[in-house]
Amino acid sequence: MTLVLDGSKTALPTLTPAEIRRYSRHLIMPEVGTIGQQKLKAAKVLMIGTGGLGSPLGMYLAAAGVGTLGLVDFDVVDESNLHRQLLYGEADIGRKKIDAATERLNVVNPHINLIQHPVRLDSSNALEIVADYDLVVDGTDNFPTRYLVNDACVLSGKPNVYGSIFRFEGQVSVFWAEHGPCYRCLFPEPPPPGLVPSCAEGGVLGVLPGIIGSLQANEVIKLIIGQGEPLIGRLVLFDALQMKFRELKLRRNPECPVCSENPSQTELIDYEQFCGIPQEPEEASDEIDISPSEVKAMLDRGEKITILDVRNPPEYEICRIEGSTLIPISELEHRLGELDPADFIVAHCHHGPRSTRAVGILRENGFSKVKNLAGGIDAWSAEVDPDIARY
């Protein structure tokens, strides 16, 4: 399969003497050669996300001489990004990722053209943005955007170089509906919110996106130069703890709603809704939430409160509210017997989402006096007890 580069429809761009010097180690390989390097120069690659996966992707694709690199990101650099997002340093905290990334990639390779898309990719802009590129690399961090990127690529006929990470585990594939299955063929439906933890909740090994993002960059370059066996119809699973790679065969779903011969969906949809993410809170938050200062006042008055920590044990190791009971959210339904429905229970997690789910679980099981600590232990640290470490 050949990727027809938009920028090569007339003739491939020539390399300048400076480019010949810079790319010499590519040029002397028969698999790349001058023509391969010219294809790289002609290529337009859209990177969705400039985070953990986007860092190695951006740096390798820029260094390799991909002529036009589009960056989509609306986020700012957070301190907790730095253990894996090598595009950024301490001085970039608080800056827009897209600005810091552009600056860094310009330093890596001033010969390439960097295009900023400082937006949240959504159904209203995705097709228009994708249209200007030859291929798309999915370095996003959430389900709605992954389905959106997939569908936009299928509808535009572009390859989607997919990578995903969690803790010690990574996945890589190339989804290209013209030649093989798409993301939806493998994952027809997203998991309901809350059932699959995110890296923000479950953590991720800092090196892992470096490995998975590099594998994606390798696939991008192979597709552009038209060499080797692209990872189409194959899913590579990587387990960093076991140091094992596995490869599974992927097949086109003949009933795929977007890439089959008679698709039931021919345009982009509302992906937040598709992923079951409620547009409006189901219950008024004051019905569920209690503020850290209210809880503190109750404790100061000597009222009896069970503080239920639903985070995971490693998070409890980092910091905890004195006297709290630890029951991770994943175990809550099986450990309800450890709690007394007669008690006033305040559940908390890191920022609030898990403990909000915990309140739901408890109320469904006959616990009527349950509240969620608004903002989690992070807000408790900010408002009540600054000695508690923030992470």
């Binding site: 959430n142 992954r146 969690f166 923000a200 479950g202 991720v204 779903n253």
Partner: protein, 95 residues
């Protein structure tokens, strides 16, 4: 030697952190029932209220998707590897 079920990281919280569970059974369906008999906490994460495998749970027998074999009825034998492929998205803040 039985059938090895590979548990992905997001589900290891329900298998006492085991990444591999040995089960028995003559079909994929039986092997999975054997798995949830050992680790009952997995059940709601793999099956819906009607007792069907949830649509977002992907099961591979060796390197093939069981959806394109005989699904639950696919025969299995000792030494086979059943892999549960999780939907993972990355670092996004949990809403």
């Amino acid at each position: 030697m039985g059938i090895s079920v590979q548990i992905p990281t997001p589900l290891r919280g329900f298998t006492a952190d085991q990444g591999e569970v040995e089960v028995s059974g003559a079909t994929v369906g039986e092997a999975m029932l054997s798995l949830i008999a050992i680790h009952q906490a997995l059940q709601p994460h793999l099956y819906n209220e009607d007792g069907n495998l949830r649509a977002f749970v992907n099961l591979f027998l060796n390197d093939e998707d069981v959806r394109y074999l005989q699904k639950d009825q696919t025969p299995v034998q000792d030494g086979d590897i059943l892999t549960i492929i999780p939907s993972i998205a990355g670092g996004g803040q949990q809403r």
